[in-house]
Amino acid sequence: MRSSERARNELMIVAALVILGIAAFVVGGYFEYIMMYFFAYSIFALSWDLLYSYSGQLSLGHAIPFGVGAFMLAILAGMLRLNPLASFAAASLVAALVGGSLGTSTLRLRPAYQGVALLVLSQVLYWFTLYRFGDEGISFTLDVPLWGVYATGVATFIVASIIVIYITNSNIGLRLTAIKDDNAAAMAVGIDVVRYKIFVQFLSNFIAGLGGSFYVLFTLDANYSVFSITNSFFPIAISVLGGMGSPGGVLIGGLLLTALTTFLPALTSLAASYLIYAVMVFIFLRFYPRGLQNLLSKVEIKI
């Protein structure tokens, strides 16, 4: 499938999800919250997939930018009572800076070590925020009406998705894939591998920071568990389910897993819903390594 066709399909998925978001807002109640969780987690997953599938950098600690964004928003908007929108932007930028710098420090490591190094750093932040802010973390109220928060979520979702879809389908995307497949060959062809990798690091961390900041914007609480290992693995699970390397697939995977973890607990027990999540992901990895995207593209061709 040619790039522009693929881009078009992916944008259609984004549009469909935005419509779903509006519908959820109209219905109201818990559905609004489910969609807000979706916005936060899906762009978090997009950012991880961008980093891995498009520059070959494996992060097993992607909770770092998510969590930094989360805490920064809580501190700026919650504790210091600064303008929420400005705090949102600032928090994401800080996440980009911190996460991007830490990620860049691991640039020259091969993926296994890189993954471990970032995992280790995420744990440092985990213990540090637990010590500094306690298990109650930072919680606060905002003088922003719910529709304002929701609109921010929708807007952020659209912007982040379009950025990722554009990059992955453009020349930059091609070059990044080349880097992922073979560093040496890419360099031989004249691609400045290091510059591209750093660029993706900062961009990925920025988008993850957007996810984390938005997450706290509607949950109104930032605490140490945002840096947990499970949180670092969640975007990986979503990417696997949806189809690594395919933003459209990642978004659908995000919808599925978000629904699973927010909706099922209301119906059955918490433990059961997490088990289903884990088993699903494992089955997909084993039997459908290209994820949902592959299954869906078969459907699309028929249409």
Partner: protein, 293 residues
């Protein structure tokens, strides 16, 4: 007097570190043949403890239960390898190795939640081999931990001998050092990978059976142990069996002393040190034996 106390603390740390080092040696072994870090390693530690718990409920005497738990983990490890698609079993590229890591990660998550559902997340009491303790300069040493340390040292020696002298052991080492050459000489990749993986996770399970009686086991024990295993192989060098032994002891001493003087910061300090080591000298203090991708 104070010196004797510090010494005793360090000794208790070494004892603890020996057992953990065994688990880390398993991780190194797997890295050697597969070229990736076994992200489900902590899960097998947890499995060892969990199986021991189950078998003891079924009425088996503890030593027999430990043997069965370890054997079962070995078999499970082999089964996992053969359940993987061929291109992940023997990774040809860095991408495949990464995918394997992610797959094992998902397996670990699935097992964690399965255990959660089965046990309700409760910390399970695992039977010890021995009860009781003695003190040395105010530091208590339980007989269980001493037995665990001695057994670990023995298993280490056995592992080293196995790798050095046995046919399969030599094949594993040859394969780790030069995959193509070994295959050209008739070593069957799949079988070696499965065996090495099975041994590696069996070592993790053994550590589990020895340490969980002291520390308990629950569904999230796996991740804690994975991080510790990472710390140790970073100190000792990923891929170096002997390095894991040294790394384990360094970790044990460090942890014991730090948690006495600065219990709140213990983990943070250890993790920051590890991060710096990974950045500056990823092949660890002992240096790496194998370069994979």
């Amino acid at each position: 007097m104070h010196v004797a106390f510090i010494f005793s603390l360090a000794l208790s740390g070494i004892e603890y570190g020996l057992v953990l080092g065994l688990m880390a040696a398993g991780l190194s072994l797997i890295y050697g043949v597969m070229g990736n870090v076994n992200t489900a390693h902590g899960t097998f530690y947890m499995l060892g403890g969990f199986l021991l718990f189950l078998l003891s409920i079924a009425g088996l005497p503890t030593p027999a239960a430990i043997a069965i738990a370890v054997a079962a983990s070995f078999a499970l490890g082999i089964a996992v390898i053969f359940a993987l698609p061929a291109n992940l079993r023997i990774a040809v590229s860095s991408d495949d190795a990464n995918l394997t890591m992610i797959t094992m990660l998902m397996l670990a998550i699935a097992v964690e939640y399965l255990l959660d559902v089965l046990t309700g997340g409760v910390t399970l009491p695992v039977p010890s081999l021995a009860i009781g303790s003695f003190t040395l300069s105010h530091v208590a040493f339980t007989y269980q931990s001493i037995i665990a340390a001695v057994m670990s040292a023995a298993v280490y020696a056995a592992l080293a001998a196995f790798l050095r002298y046995s046919k399969i052991g030599k094949a594993i080492r040859a394969y780790s050092q030069n995959q193509e050459l070994a295959e050209a000489l008739g070593v069957e990749g799949s079988k070696i990978v499965a065996l090495a993986f099975g041994i590696g996770v069996a070592l993790a399970a053994l550590s589990g059976t020895l340490l969980t009686p002291i520390y308990g086991v629950n569904s999230s024990s796996g991740w804690d142990m994975l991080v510790i295993a990472f710390i140790i192989v970073t100190l000792g060098g990923l891929g170096s069996i002997f390095g894991s032994l040294i790394g384990g002891m360094i970790y044990g001493i460090g942890y014991s002393l730090l948690s006495y003087y600065m219990p709140t910061y213990t983990y943070i300090i250890l993790l920051v040190i590890i991060y710096v080591i990974i950045i500056l000298k990823p092949t660890g203090i002992m240096g790496e034996i194998v370069e994979k991708f």
